[in-house]
């Protein structure tokens, strides 16, 4: 009895936090989405979201997020696999994780220097004979920098999944006639799929709502849902439309979580 009461008491700070900073903002966003730019109650914002301008914006957001997630996965899986084979795997993992603690804006500004007209990247291109070219404000630099920023978040869950794989299972597959590639296809990959799903979630969802990097690195050539929300709130002052896009973003996030949902199998 007393125990149960105390447990509820301990829950209070967390509940207050969730109420103030999770539930209340979502309700506010939902509330604002029903007002047009003049402050009248209407569904005009929802109608506008389904016009070609915003649908194209959503589609391009999805495309970039997909590209970023896919490339991150391609780089992260082999990296995580190699990490589990190294002797001091926890140290190597830490070294990969550490850059993710550095402020995102700092890293973005650093890349402006590297990709700039007279930056290190162009110097290198000059040196190997390709010649300098426009790197900043291109799709390439945008995807490159975002992949760089997100990669630790993809590596970590995949590393954990690979690391907790029972090595006897690999012996068992080998014993039953499987070659290395068959073992990967039939045992290692399926058993680390949960890690891959988690990694994709934690990369895809933030990638959908990126906004600072789109301006700093992509020079506003790439407009994502995140950029659109920022513009509506800070530039056009159309809070209603900004909120509507936010509502859709939240819905999309739940959809993705549901689609890549955790289905734990086995022990």
């Amino acid at each position: 009895m007393g125990n149960k009461f105390m447990r509820n008491v301990y829950m209070v700070p967390y509940m207050v936090w969730v109420l103030l900073f999770v539930i209340a903002p979502i309700l506010l966003v939902l509330y604002y989405s029903f007002f047009d730019i003049h402050g009248n109650f209407s569904f005009i914002n929802y109608e506008r979201f389904f016009t070609p301008v915003y649908l194209k914006l959503t589609l391009s957001s999805f495309w970039y997020a997909f590209l970023i997630t896919f490339i991150s996965l391609l780089v992260a899986y082999p990296t995580a696999y190699l990490l589990t084979k190294t002797k001091h795997k926890r140290l190597w993992l830490l070294l990969i994780i550490v850059p993710s603690w550095v402020n995102l804006l700092l890293k973005a500004y650093a890349f402006i220097g590297i990709f700039g007209a007279y930056g290190a990247a162009n110097n290198f291109l000059e040196w190997i004979g390709i010649g300098s070219r426009q790197l900043l404000f291109t799709d390439f630099s945008f995807v490159f920098v975002t992949v760089y920023i997100f990669i630790p978040f993809m590596i970590l869950p995949i590393f954990n999944a690979l690391n907790s794989l029972n090595p006897a299972l690999l012996d068992a597959a080998n014993d039953l006639g499987a070659s290395k590639s068959t073992t990967f296809r039939r045992v290692i990959f399926p058993l680390t799929l949960d890690g891959v799903k988690t990694g994709c979630q934690v990369v895809f969802i933030p990638a959908l709502s990126l906004f600072m990097i789109t301006r700093l690195i992509a020079g506003n050539r790439v407009i994502t849902l995140g950029t659109a929300i920022e513009q509506h709130f800070l530039v056009t002052q159309d809070w209603g439309m900004g909120s509507t896009i936010a509502v859709f973003l939240i819905l999309i996030m739940f959809l993705i979580i549901w689609l890549t949902g955790f289905r734990k199998r086995g022990a």
């Binding site: 029972n166 039953l176 499987a178 086995g266």
Partner: protein, 369 residues
Amino acid sequence: MRNASIIQFRHVTKQFNDETVVLDDVSFEIEGGKFYTLLGPSGCGKTTILRLIAGFIEPSEGEIFFNGKKINQVPANKRQVNTVFQDYALFPHLNVFENVAFGLRIKKMKKTAIEEKVSEALSFVNLQGYEYREISEMSGGQRQRVAIARAIVNEPKIILLDEPLSALDLKLRTQMQYELRELQRRLGITFIFVTHDQEEALAMSDEIFVLNKGKIQQSGTPIDIYDEPINRFVADFIGESNIIKGKMIEDFLVEIAGKPFVCVDGGMNPNEPVEIVIRPEDLEIRPEGEGKLSVTVISQLFRGVHYEAHCRDLEGNVWLVHTTKKIQVGDKLGLDFNPEDIHVMRFDESEEDFDRRIEQYTEDESLGK
């Protein structure tokens, strides 16, 4: 070369990167169709032998033959050997059917053939009807059987079992011992079983290899190894035993606790110091003054089937006795035993010398009669 030998180790040594020698110049032969057990304490090298046969590791030195062909470099997935792992190593993302079918699918067998073989293998281990269960829904004993089915479905020449019963409770373990033995008889293929449990080894095997510190100490049938252990380690590891210092006065006469006793061993030097083994169940309790030794009971435990007592003789040797008679600490008793219950061991005798001596003195004995 005899055709019957399916696996042959010639001077095999296995050393790991950190220079620790886990197998030290081991040679032996394994014949087809028998139940073998590699028995020894942890770290004795028994699992290393298993992994060498399976192909997970390569020997540092020496040669391994399979049906007369050297297989040192043949990878595990190309060997006609399958393993039942200690923790079963069943694939958690696959159901029972797919676990058993794993090896067959890799061989790209036809669908109907796979279904037929899997259901045959599952009925062999009494698991028909469990095809579409998840591994997480199976009990320990059932998982054990899935692991066995997954191995036998590939029709290997040898099945390797790495302490497969150690995770099961006592009742289930005993039941699985019968089942495994029965399964081996029905399949007629070679089983190589690794365990540290001497009772398990004695109950199941045709042949036992007793290992310690990377070397085979003794090999033979369970009865040979129990009745005629080659040295102190084997005598101590297999069953419970009284190992007492003695002196071999002449053939068939040994001095124990200062008294001469008739025994059935021979072939040693006159007055050679030896160790003698008498099993606790071979010692019989007699009233004080009777029997061959006078002893005092110093401790006593009730073990269910019998009482276990430690008794001290007049020379100070402590004897472990198993008896169904009720005795008390402080009782003065006599101990009796038969000449054939005494087993004499020489110090540092190799297995070859031991076998040669036994052969010789048993011949002498039959000539004498």
